[in-house]
């Protein structure tokens, strides 16, 4: 191939007695052959000031725009060093190319950011991020407000509620999530039983394993673990689905047809998740306790009958209710954050990944923060 066969671009320097420096250029000034010439010119232009130069280009073979750019760049640099330059022997086609490229050549910019601006960069970034955070919060509040207006409208006009979409979302977010929720809550039951069993065995207080499992699973672990699984699974898919619809302009199309995206996309998702997460927490309660019962039997030799008998006396129904009541709150947080981030996706491929990540991180954080709030609240209320 020709580009391999091209001759290296070279420059020979010659200083005559009257002080005129002659630069004689050879070879092909093409993109693959420029390296040596570029190095030489960089060095030469750095040391030459106030001299007259004769640049002989008559022996240059083929030239491409990279080669011409190299010439233009150093011609300008030498000019700005107050050198007088005479170019001799340029071929017609080279002149023609020069004529075209000269007017597109970038000016001598080469000045990096000033020291002070580099110094101030952290401050500028802090400022930028703070403003972005405030704007983000404002947008989120506006989104929640818009969502409530639409909810109110839907409640006043129950016929406008999209029951079909709700059912479909229940299937997507709930029914299909049952295996993973079952598996995680089973494992959580196993883990806390093992951890507790070792301690309780020391005191011969094996039977209290039931109290431990029953209270921790129903009040805290089942809701929290289920919500985290759902945030990772469903929250991210909400963001991605809505984000892709934003990129393909489906959301705009819906708006122009008078289909409010809140009513058609957001509310069904929120309502579906609020229903289904609550049910899934109850499901996770059962699985977690069954896992604990199984491990107690294997490890502590506690019979199933004993376990169930003890369970009936220690597990008041209010503990189950407390766990289940958290469901709708967690679900609302996950769904609203997922949808909100979806609407923020802009027209580029990374932004989907970016906002999906943010959505999951936000959702998990909010779920845990909300759970902490509930803990404080219930403790203060003495429930």
């Amino acid at each position: 191939m020709e580009s391999i066969r091209s001759q290296k671009a070279r420059i020979r320097q010659f200083k005559s007695t009257d002080g005129v420096i002659t630069l004689t250029s050879f070879g092909d000034w093409t993109i693959d052959a420029l390296r040596d010439a570029a190095g030489m010119l960089e060095q030469f232009s750095g040391t030459s000031r106030n001299v007259s130069i004769q640049w002989d280009v008559s022996d240059i073979g083929s030239v491409d725009s990279a080669g011409m750019m190299l010439f233009i760049h150093y011609y300008d640099v030498l000019k700005s060093n107050k050198c007088s330059i005479k170019v001799i022997g340029a071929k017609i086609e080279h002149k023609k190319m020069y004529g075209l490229l000269r007017k597109y050549a970038p000016g001598n910019s080469g000045v990096g950011p000033a020291f002070s601006s580099r110094f101030l960069k952290p401050l500028r970034n802090t400022g930028k991020n703070s403003v972005a955070f405030v704007l983000d919060m404002t947008a989120f509040l506006a989104f929640i407000g818009e969502n409530f207006v639409n909810l109110l409208y839907s409640l006043l006009h129950p016929r406008s509620i999209r029951f079909g979409a709700i059912v479909k979302n229940i299937e997507e977010a709930g029914v299909r999530a049952i295996p993973i929720v079952a598996l995680t809550s089973f494992l959580i039951g196993v883990v806390i039983t093992y951890q507790g069993a070792v301690q309780l065995e020391k005191f011969g207080a094996n039977i209290f394993i039931v109290d431990m499992i029953a209270l921790s699973v129903t009040r805290e672990l089942a809701p929290l673990i289920t919500a985290i699984v759902v945030a990772g699974r469903t929250g991210s898919s909400y963001t991605a689905q809505i984000g892709v619809m934003k990129i393909t302009e489906e959301i705009d199309a819906m708006r122009t047809m008078g289909f409010d995206p809140h009513r058609f996309l957001v509310l069904p998702r929120i309502i579906a998740l609020m229903i289904v997460l609550t049910l899934m927490i109850f499901f996770a309660d059962i699985i977690g306790i069954v896992a604990g019962m199984f491990i107690s039997h294997v490890h502590l030799h506690l019979s199933y009958a004993e376990f169930l008998h003890r369970l009936q006396t220690v597990l008041e129904v209010k503990h189950v209710w407390i766990g289940i009541c958290k469901g709708p709150f967690f679900a609302w947080l996950i769904a609203i954050v997922g949808c909100f981030r979806g609407f923020q996706v802009s027209k580029s491929t990374d932004s989907i990944g970016h906002y999906t990540t943010i959505s999951v991180v936000n959702a998990i954080f909010l779920v845990i923060a909300c759970d902490a709030l509930f803990s404080v609240l219930f403790t203060e209320l003495g429930i």
Binding site: M1, R35, S65, A66, M69, L100, A105
Partner: protein
């Protein structure tokens, strides 16, 4: 007669049962701007994808810059890919890179030029395609449709290719923008000695920039040559293509 740069002979392409090409043959000469025309679904983009090794035809032969694409070695394919530039219909700019990084990516990966020179070359190309200076630091998502096209052309031109593939270069541009784009391609051809293959259905482009073109239809090339040669072809598809109301109006005004 000048050298042949691309030869397509007897290419057959099938997607499952759907036959797209059934014996397509054409030649592109060095230094010419060659158009690939045809209605929607006539397989012109598919043919271009076969020329740039994104798809493989079921049978037939394609030679680009002397290399047979069906038997090419890995090393030769890499060399070949360095020598052409491709402008995709949607721009296909890397959305995580700025315009400047997009244009410079091949220079950075394939050459050992000093960074300063690469930056200058990138700026040169950006100016050449008529993008404003500040566009260099923007991300593709922040550009308008016309700017995406220009940035993508700058990227295709970055390595000074011998061969430029353009997939519908003027679609999505306003008439004056499309004309400026056509003029730009003419000028680049003159200065850089490019050979250009463009898929298009812009009749204005065919009249002003394209030297020769092929019309694809009925799974074959139904006409090849200059505008005059092809319009005299009595084939009904060609008649329909150039005889439609839009075609007539154009040729009356500008022809």
């Amino acid at each position: 007669m000048s050298k042949i740069v691309i030869t397509v002979s007897d290419v057959v392409t099938r997607f499952g049962k759907n036959v797209v090409h059934d014996g397509v043959s054409l030649n592109v000469r060095q230094g010419e701007i060659y158009g690939l025309l045809g209605g929607s679904g006539s397989g012109k983009s598919t043919l271009m994808k076969e020329m740039i090794m994104l798809l493989r035809p079921q049978s037939g032969e394609i030679r680009v810059l002397g290399q047979n694409l069906l038997t090419i070695t890995r090393a030769d394919a890499t060399m070949l890919r360095r020598q052409w530039g491709v402008l995709f219909q949607g721009g296909a700019l890397y959305s995580s890179l700025t315009v400047e990084e997009n244009v410079g990516i091949k220079l950075k990966e394939y050459t050992d030029l000093p960074l300063k020179l690469i930056q200058d070359i990138v700026r040169l190309k950006i100016n050449m395609v008529g993008l404003p200076e500040h566009a260099a630091d923007l991300y593709p998502a922040e550009l308008s449709g016309g700017m995406v096209k220009r940035a993508s052309l700058a990227r295709a031109l970055a390595m000074d290719p011998k061969l430029l593939f353009l997939d519908e270069p003027t679609s999505g541009l306003d008439p004056s923008g499309a004309e400026a784009f056509d003029n730009l391609i003419l000028k680049l051809r003159e200065v850089l000695g490019l050979t250009v293959l463009m898929v298009t259905h812009d009749l204005d482009s065919i009249q002003t920039v394209v030297d020769r073109f092929a019309v694809l239809g009925e799974k074959k090339v139904i006409g090849e040559g200059t505008l005059n040669e092809v319009t005299q072809n009595p084939h009904p598809v060609i008649k329909k293509f150039f005889g439609g109301k839009r075609g007539l109006k154009r040729s009356r005004n500008g022809g």
